[in-house]
Amino acid sequence: MKTDKLLDAIGMIDDSYIKEAHEEKKKERRIFRLSDFRLSWELMGKLATAGICLFLAVGILPNVFHSYDQKSASDGSYNSYGSSYVYKDEEAYASEPMEAMAEDNAFDEYKTDANSLTENLRKDENKKLILTANMQMETKDLDETISSLLEKVNACGAYVQRSSSYTRNSSTRIYEATLRIPADQYGAFIAELKGAGNTLSYNDEIEDITDSYTDIQARINSLKAQEERVLDFYRKAETIEDLMSVESRLSDLRYQIEYYEAQIKNYDLLVAYSTLHITISETTVYTPENPGFFSRLGGSFTDGWHDFIGNIGDFLVDVVYNIWTILLLAGLGYLGYRIYKRIRNRKNAK
């Protein structure tokens, strides 16, 4: 064979070259290759854990905070949106006896009592009370309920201060609004609103500002008395210096009077118009008043599933939204890997 001599010649090369290559063969190489990975339970566990963490970090947490922010913006008194919208709000019940809660019509009674209390308090003309309420409802036809709500708003002289609508978890339509209702119409308005859908939660808060109101009125009266006296000085002033000094004082007093009068007007508005933060969600089946354990369990499972699907959908949407950034980073990563590999190969070749 014509290569025999060359083979023999190569076989006789210097020992140092043979040893050099042998040393290289003995080295342990730790090069990342997909083929090096073996499918094992440990690896699968690690991959699953990493996937869940990634899903939580990218998919769920932003949505949780997003929901929380949305809720906080519209309804500062609630801490949890997801649970309170399904079941009656805990704060609403917290102020009522447990016996009342056990009855089917406990919520209606509570609401009636609250309104009666409000009405009774309002009978005292000297009392300055600001009523702020939160209400959550569900309806089977959101558009019709909103339309009905707006009709009621117009009929009783109320107005919509703020409103927004959005879709949660890609399926549940939500309408949120802040309504300003004339205080004397508030009880009737709430009673009418009850028939528009299924009320999930209600709570109200009455802030008594009588002291502050009276104090501001006293300040205004005092300032006006001072204004009268300064005006007398103004009329009697003989020198330019006196006139200028009195005018300066008069200007200062009028500024303070206007400031306090604006506060009084704001208070009057708050007292005259009660504030109702209302959230209406669309549903196919109304939530039962007192769901049993298994019903709650089933509801939680179903809601959890819907949330899960919704979060996956949101996650995919986020991924697609950031696809160019991801591709760019992946490209840069691959380029970096290639450069690193080339440098390493050159080093090995030397």
Partner: protein, 192 residues
């Protein structure tokens, strides 16, 4: 046990020398034999012959590097065995592929047919290897001395297989040019 101690055992004609050699360099020599013969029984047989040959060679030899000394014996014996087993290239393995590649360097064997010329050729290859970069030299030796597969070399050096093939092709071309320049191979593709 250190190589010097093993060599000392050979010199003292102590049979433990073979045992120690087998223990320390058995796998190394076996891998060389297996790369050539591609059969575990033949490789084992070649390995046994290696220990016997080493027993006969030491003394008078006093190898400085025992591993390469034993490896060279294994390689030579395995090649001889392979030659005796087949007149033509047959079977799988990397060895026939290596031969195909080396044919490009010496297309005709008419002028290089005795031991002296083989020695000249080996010295020329030594000089050629000295001029190569370390990585290129290692790849060449792994492929044509140890008869490692391209895949193994690629994994060991962190190269792709195509890169190893290209590297070997370039080295073979340069070896051919070098041998022509040294007058060991004619430009008309005939050995001197």
């Amino acid at each position: 046990m250190e190589d010097l101690q093993i060599v000392e055992l050979y010199w003292n004609r102590d049979e433990k020398a073979i045992e120690q050699s087998q223990q320390k360099y058995g796998n190394y020599c076996y891998s060389i034999a297996y790369n050539i013969l591609h059969n575990s029984e033949d490789a084992q047989e070649s390995l046994n012959d290696t220990w016997l040959a080493a027993w006969d060679a030491i003394p008078p030899h006093h190898p400085q590097i025992l591993s390469t000394f034993l490896g060279k014996i294994t390689r030579r014996l395995s090649l001889n065995k392979w030659r005796s087993m087949t007149a033509e290239k047959r079977g799988g393995g990397n060895f026939p592929l290596s031969l195909d590649e080396l044919e490009e360097c010496i297309p005709d064997q008419r002028s290089i047919d005795d031991r002296l010329e083989t020695q000249y050729l080996s010295e020329a290859i030594d000089r050629f290897l000295a001029k190569l970069k370390e990585g290129e030299r290692k790849v060449f030796v792994c492929r044509y001395w140890y008869f490692d597969s391209v895949k193994d070399i690629a994994e060991r050096f962190g190269f792709s297989e195509s890169k190893v093939k290209m590297l070997l092709k370039r080295t073979r071309d340069r070896l051919k040019e070098y041998l022509i320049k040294e007058g060991l191979v004619n430009e008309n593709r005939q050995t001197a």
